[in-house]
Every structure is written in structure tokens, then in C-alpha cells.
């Protein structure tokens, strides 16, 4: 067995995924500004490069050159650790999400995901549940009231929505009877997408995903009008940029998760009937994954600029009194479906 082949394959895959992630993150920021401008009938950034195409690089340069300020009242270690934690968790989650069917290259079968963990879904849940630490640490260690309030809100919000998120995933796992991402995607062949089979679970997961990524209408941890910048009020320079990147990376992961769990992953219904042959089918399938993720990212941005922010009690009511019972209902529904059709 050629160990070097595996090493090279892994390194190439990691580099590929990282590059794509970083590029997507930077252009997602641009996309957000462009889409928001479009929604609000503005022009948006259009000075750097062609129609603003180089804007992300200008932003990065600006942030890199800024002074890194650590407040006097801050706990230095945690204050420094928090942004790294945020970005580390955001990027390592992607390891288990498959973005395409297995392909054959240079005589090797290559799986288009970094690691096939047979409890992959639990791995993602574990890591996303840790994401809250970055924000909580940032909020506490900054030594500022606004940051602290952001951190506290974040921890309460994350825990509340993680419950319905976990239960929604429960329905998916029941359908696939496996925790492995590959099995889950394969269980949704044809039009058996989970979004169609279990629409309630899809909705609860989608809403929870918004809450977990701290996106509007659930961005209470940063809530600019009330908390200045929330947990990242006291951050500047690259540390601030890390939080910023982590937020967008989390969006991509959430979209990837939704596609994997509910929209059939890389599958295109009935594509094998077209008889396109080996390489084209795989390419179309892989592209379909990216198209689905792209649409969901657009959806994230769309919602952000359309819906106002929830009040804190509304957020908690929605989480515990609506989403949680609905996700339980979804489990019952899935159980009934399985009983009837298997």
C-alpha cells in the first residue's frame, strides 16, 4: 500500500478545500455587499478592480495594516485565543462534508471529502457546539460590558437552538440509519431529498442554522444598534478579521450541512438516466453541490437584508416554544414515514 500516495492525496485535498474556502469567504463578503446594495437600490463597492472584483483583497490589506489593540482590562491569553478558536473550528468542520461523488483520477479512487468519519454528523454537531466558546471567550475576556453582553447572549442562544438542531438531524439520521455523511447523501437518491420527505425538519434546521451562525434575524450577539459590535467590540486588525472570516466560513458550513442533510448532497435526481458517462456525471454532480451551496448562501444574504432582528425574548420563545416542539414533531413524522414505507 502506497502511504505516500495517501499523504499526497490528503495534502492536495486539504489545500484544495482550504483555497476554495478562503476564496469563497472573501468573495462572499463582496457578494454580501453587492447583494445588499442591489436589494437597497444602491451600487455597492465598484472602485477596486473591475466592478469591485478586487475589493476583498483591498479589505484584507487594510485589516492587516491596522494596529492590533488589546484593551487594558482584557485577559490577554483568552483575548488572543478566541479569534483563533473561532477560525479553527469554522475550518475544521468542513473536513467531513462530501462535495462530490467518488472520482477516479490517475488510476486512484478518490473520495471528495477530507475524512470519512462514520459518526460524521456527530462530529459536526460537536464542533459547532464548540463554536460558542470563541464568542463567549471573546465576550468575557475583552473586559467590556458590551462584549460581555454579547458573549452571554451568544451562549444562551446557541444552547437553545442547538437543541432543535440536534433533533432535526435526528430525523435525517433515522432516514439514513447511519451517521456517516456519505450514507446520508446516498439515502437521498432520486427525489427522496429529506427537504421533501421531512419539510418540518428542514425548516427547523434552516432556522437553527441561522441562529447558530449568528446571522440576522438572530445576530443578537453583535447587534450593532444596542451593543456597538457585541462580542467583537474590542477587537481590531487581523483578530477582528478572523471573527469576520469565521462568520462567513460558518455560513458556508451551514449551507454545506443543509445541502448534505436535506438537499441530497451532490446528487442530481435521475442523472444516471441521461447516460453521460463517467467523468461528466461526476462533474455535473460536483457542480450541483456547489450550485446548491451557492443558492443557500444567497438565501442567507437575502434574509439578512429583508428581515429585522428579533428581540431577545422573541428569540427565546421561538427557540423553545416553536422550533423545539416542531423538531420533535418531525421525529414523530419521520418515524411514521419509516413505519409506513419500510
Amino acid at each position: 500500500m502506497d502511504i505516500w500516495g495517501i499523504v499526497i492525496e490528503s495534502v492536495v485535498k486539504i489545500l484544495f478545500v482550504l483555497t476554495i474556502m478562503l476564496l469563497t469567504v472573501s468573495y462572499l463578503v463582496l457578494a454580501e455587499r453587492k447583494v445588499s446594495a442591489w436589494i437597497q437600490s444602491r451600487l455597492g463597492p465598484n472602485r477596486v478592480g473591475w466592478g469591485g472584483a478586487l475589493q476583498p483583497f483591498a479589505d484584507v490589506a487594510k485589516l492587516l495594516l491596522k494596529e492590533d489593540i488589546v484593551p487594558k482590562a482584557a485577559d490577554k491569553t483568552l483575548h488572543t485565543l478566541a479569534p483563533f478558536l473561532a477560525i479553527f473550528i469554522a475550518f475544521s468542520t468542513y473536513a467531513v462534508i462530501p462535495f462530490g461523488p467518488p472520482i477516479t483520477l490517475f488510476g486512484r479512487e478518490i473520495n471528495l471529502h477530507l475524512a470519512d468519519v462514520n459518526i460524521g454528523v456527530l462530529y459536526v454537531l460537536a464542533l459547532t457546539s464548540l463554536g460558542v466558546y470563541a464568542i463567549t471567550f471573546a465576550g468575557w475576556s475583552s473586559g467590556s460590558k458590551y462584549s460581555l453582553l454579547g458573549g452571554i447572549r451568544s451562549s444562551a442562544q446557541m444552547i437553545s437552538y442547538e437543541v432543535s438542531m440536534g433533533f432535526s438531524i435526528g430525523g435525517v439520521v433515522m432516514m439514513a440509519s447511519s451517521l456517516s455523511p456519505v450514507d446520508i447523501i446516498e439515502s437521498q437518491s432520486g427525489w427522496m431529498w429529506n427537504a421533501i420527505v421531512q419539510p418540518i425538519g428542514f425548516i427547523t434546521f434552516l432556522v437553527s442554522a441561522f441562529a447558530e451562525t449568528n446571522r440576522l434575524p438572530f445576530d443578537l450577539p453583535e447587534a450593532e444598534p444596542e451593543l456597538v459590535g457585541g462580542y467583537h467590540t474590542e477587537y481590531s486588525s487581523m483578530k477582528f478579521a478572523s471573527f469576520f472570516m469565521a462568520e462567513y466560513a460558518n455560513m458556508i458550513i451551514a449551507s454545506g450541512m443543509i445541502v448534505m442533510l436535506y438537499l441530497g448532497g451532490w446528487q442530481v435526481p435521475y442523472i444516471e438516466k441521461l447516460g453521460l458517462g463517467s467523468p461528466f456525471t461526476q462533474i455535473i454532480q460536483t457542480l450541483s453541490f456547489f450550485v446548491k451551496v451557492g443558492f443557500l448562501l444567497f438565501f442567507f444574504i437575502w434574509v439578512r437584508w429583508s428581515i429585522p432582528r428579533f428581540r431577545y425574548d422573541q428569540l427565546m420563545n421561538l427557540g423553545w416554544k416553536v422550533m423545539f416542539p416542531l423538531s420533535l414533531l418531525n421525529i414523530v413524522w419521520v418515524a411514521v414515514v419509516i413505519m409506513l414505507f419500510n
Binding site: 483568552l78 462514520n118 456527530l122 457546539s129 460558542v132 446557541m158 444552547i159 440536534g166
Partner: protein, 171 residues
């Protein structure tokens, strides 16, 4: 030295050091952070034992939910006054050391003289798969169905109780 042993030593060291740091830090929030780190090291040890489910649950439930709530409370409360009590009374410290020594001796005794299931397992294959999600799920829904359902009702009771005691006003 094989890779597994190396990992074990790393995780064990992290677990031991982080738990020491946890009880010696003055600031309760920092203590909680070290406890989280300790949970991670434990999860790693569980993984080495092939107990994936426990490992992941350790992170999701303990590190991801319970400790977040701990931090939530610690951050809401001003913990400055708590330190004085813990660091002021010496006898409590010695009592704690005594208890820790007793527990350590007991665990050591159990490891040496305990039942056979600790020293050698006749069915290594079974023990390898006993920590997977599938095995645990099957056990929970067959042999342990009664305790499992009882635990469900226990949580229901606790929820109802907490709601009564914390509800702002009735009707």
C-alpha cells in the same frame, strides 16, 4: 513506542495538568476553561478506547452545553467573592486532599483486585465494537429500555419542577 501509546500519554498529561490548573486558578472563569480542556483530553482518551459515542457525547453535552451554561452563570455573577472562601479555610483543603487520596487508593485497589472485566476481556472483538453508536443504540433500546425511559421521565419531572420553581407568576 507506538502511536497509540504516544497519544495516550499526550491526552493523559493534558487531562492531568488541566485538572490541576482548574482547581488552582483563582478566577472561576479560567477554571471553567481548563475544565473544558480537560473534557477534551478525556474525549481523546475515550476515542483511544474505541468509545466514539462517549467521546462525541462528552464534547457535545459536557463541553458544548453544560460548560457553556456554567460559563453563562459565571459570567453573569460576580465571582470575586467566591475566591476568598475557597482560599481562606485551610482545613477544607486538607480534607479535600485526604478524600482525593482515599479515592485514588480505592481506584488503585479496584484496578488491581477488581473483577475480571477490567484486566482482560475474553472477547476482544466485542469490546472493540462495544463503544460504537450502533452497539450503544441497540443496547439502550433493548436491554436498557427501562432505565432509558425512566431517565426520560426523570428529565420530564426535573423540567416540570424547574418550571414551577422558576416561573415568574402563575396565571
Amino acid at each position: 513506542m507506538n502511536f497509540e501509546l504516544l497519544l495516550f500519554i499526550v491526552f493523559a498529561l493534558v487531562a492531568a495538568v488541566s485538572s490541576l490548573m482548574m482547581i488552582t486558578r483563582k478566577n472561576a472563569v479560567i477554571s471553567a476553561v481548563f475544565l473544558v480542556l480537560n473534557f477534551f483530553a478525556l474525549a481523546g482518551l475515550y476515542l483511544l478506547l474505541n468509545a466514539q459515542f462517549i467521546a462525541v457525547v462528552q464534547i457535545i453535552v459536557y463541553a458544548g452545553a453544560i460548560m457553556v451554561l456554567f460559563l453563562f452563570v459565571l459570567m453573569l455573577l460576580n465571582t470575586g467573592k467566591e475566591e476568598a472562601i475557597l482560599h481562606g479555610k485551610k482545613p477544607i483543603k486538607y480534607f479535600a486532599i485526604f478524600i482525593a487520596a482515599v479515592v485514588f487508593l480505592q481506584v488503585a485497589y479496584l484496578l488491581v483486585f477488581g473483577s475480571g472485566s477490567f484486566t482482560s476481556n475474553p472477547d476482544i472483538e466485542a469490546s472493540l465494537s462495544s463503544g460504537t453508536v450502533e452497539t450503544i443504540g441497540r443496547e439502550i433500546y433493548t436491554k436498557y429500555i427501562i432505565p432509558f425511559e425512566a431517565a426520560g421521565f426523570l428529565l420530564l419531572a426535573a423540567t416540570i419542577g424547574a418550571l414551577i420553581l422558576a416561573k415568574k407568576k402563575f396565571e
